[in-house]
Subunit: 367 residues, 2 copies
């Protein structure tokens, strides 16, 4: 692995001091911000995430805040998901598409009130798209990036840790719902959500000054729970089928290709951008789609580019994420496969930089 040159442009977070003290070894850059990728080792981090509880600095999940009478109208403009059933206190995963139906981001929308929303973004400057639209449409809404840094608590012991800091009330928060809770006199939105399948919470921390006090309080409270600094784990998220914007999908892809058709209500989400482009694909289905793929042989190298998937000499797809899975004793991967070869159990070949490997298509991920 090469080194990452530090600069102001790769923004630190309110938790960076804690991350460094915990011995971070590697980062990625996400929304112009540092996102840790490894503390002890990918495998040790993986085992620990599945057995204990971790504190993740996911400040890079930047928020776009929408405030004003047109906020709700603007959010519906952005996504083919029908938002009419959504109540304040709920989180929705909302694919965002452009006028051609191409994915621009796949954020979680947090509805604070009818006229106030946060959009918790994946790695693209969605702020610019939303601001451009708001300006072009002359909408009565303020759009900006607030000083808000999410901290995730993930792992099977997440409820226990959170209860010690925020009270037992956290146990009552349902999946993709949130509560306003107090920490040292500060209001924090606490949602049951997060980028793993081990369960847990995301705390929306407003104001950088309260970041390290919260970090320390959680570390202190979780000592006997074996709490440790952690981060989204490549292997665990592939096993779980959690997609990554920029890796597994780009603006070349429709939500349907990404297996996100169930979040698109193309008939009823009237007025959303990209509706015309998606109407046909929503009826007929996509011709290629995201699949779980197991790759044979020993540990694959880091997947830093698309790896072609072949059926004989014909390219029928590409791998976009791959990692060795200790629990399933195989390489787990995410790829896009053409419909001619996407059925369960189809045997194919993947061209990795180390050479060709046998691979098998699965309709379900490893959870």
């Amino acid at each position: 692995m090469a080194l990452l040159s530090p600069s102001r442009r790769l923004r630190r977070t309110p938790f960076s001091d804690g991350v460094e003290a915990a011995g971070v070894q590697a980062y990625t850059v996400y929304n112009h911000m540092l996102l840790p990728t490894m503390f002890r080792s990918i495998e040790e981090d993986y085992r620990h995430l599945k057995s204990a509880v971790q504190i993740w600095d996911v400040s890079c999940e930047r928020q776009v805040e929408l405030r004003g009478p047109d906020a709700g109208r603007l959010v519906q403009l952005l996504t083919p998901r029908d938002l009419r059933p959504m109540l304040p206190g709920q989180c929705y995963y909302i694919p965002i598409v452009d006028e051609t139906g191409g994915m621009l981001n796949d954020p979680v929308a947090v509805k604070l009130a009818e006229d106030r929303w946060w959009i918790s973004i994946a790695d693209s400057d969605l702020l610019y798209w939303i601001k451009g639209l708001a300006y072009g449409y002359r909408l009565d809404v303020l759009v900006d990036e607030p000083d808000m840094s999410p901290l995730a608590i993930q792992g099977p012991k997440a409820d226990d840790l959170m209860a010690r800091v925020f009270g037992d009330v956290v146990r009552d928060i349902r999946f993709f719902r949130f509560m306003h809770l107090d920490f040292q006199g500060r209001d924090m939105v606490v949602a049951r959500s997060g980028y793993s399948k081990q369960g847990g919470f995301e705390i929306y921390v407003e104001g950088g000054d309260i970041g390290m006090p919260l970090w320390h309080a959680l570390m202190e409270a979780g000592r006997d729970l074996d709490v440790h600094a952690g981060c989204p784990n490549l292997t665990e998220r592939i096993e779980a089928g959690l997609l990554s914007y920029g890796n597994d999908m780009t603006d070349d892809n429709t939500p349907h290709e990404c297996g996100l058709g169930r979040f698109c209500n193309t008939q009823t989400a009237i007025g959303c951008i990209g509706r015309d482009a998606l109407l046909r694909v929503s009826t007929e289905g996509p011709v290629k789609q995201i699949r779980a793929i197991s790759i044979g042989g020993d540990r694959v190298p880091g997947c830093d580019r698309y790896w072609p998937i072949k059926a004989g000499s014909k390219t029928v797809g590409r791998i976009s994420s791959a990692a060795w899975s200790p629990d399933f004793n195989t390489n787990v991967a995410i790829g896009m496969v053409r419909m001619t070869h996407w059925d369960e159990g189809t045997d194919l070949t993947v061209e990795t930089p180390d050479g060709a490997r046998p691979a098998t298509v699965h309709e379900k991920f490893w959870v």
Copy 2:
């Protein structure tokens, strides 16, 4: 320095194979793409850039292409710089601001024809802002990111190297002008431009397949010129006063604060976004501004966050980029300073992570 985890999301470029073979040691991430930051050492790269010629993979200067009858109208909407004098064949540096006058990017616009432009962007997804506006305004224009990867040739021997590959005609290209030239039967736009003060060119390479053939041809042709792979050099660009979006300026800053007031024709650039917000500042001037700042003592650490600038106990600015300069035997820096303390020769204190250092404000950079 920490490690950078590889992933597809941090895009490789058509020249990555060459960059790796040349022994790249460190990267940054820029527009979701790998940008090399060091080959031999910052100092060795710096000496070589100033004495020979380097080939830079600056594919991360992604292009936003605008095509169609409303292309010119849209570009003028984006920037307070008056584009009426601009002819096809010219490049203009154009600050891009939002409706509040805050900088969103500081790209170079390349006017190919009245109805076809490239915008060569700094590190933010300007594509999203432009697409959002084009859609909101219902403009008759296509906006996308073409498969275009700039390769820069920089250094005092750049003309000699380029002439060997593209012919002596390159010597006639004036600063910020371009020509269409042929390489192995492919049309390439070659501009006299680049992110150093050593002189040179940027080649707009269309199609990834021709990337390595061009790289090899330049390396081969420049053997006796001591050509080497290089990259934008932190020390050289600070000496030269070349600003970096995300480091030295953000959307909190007006162009006037960044010393870019001369590129804002607020009176005549009618219809541009942010004009109302900038009218007053363009008359009265900003209350803080970018300055060259020398910092005393030995080599400063990497500037990965703002360093406060103090006059006594009062904060009067912040440093955003800093590096040791072998040629000027001081630490060179870029900072934003309030008008009360921005005059030439003002002595101040900079709070670095290593402790306080004496510093001096300069009205001119080191070139």
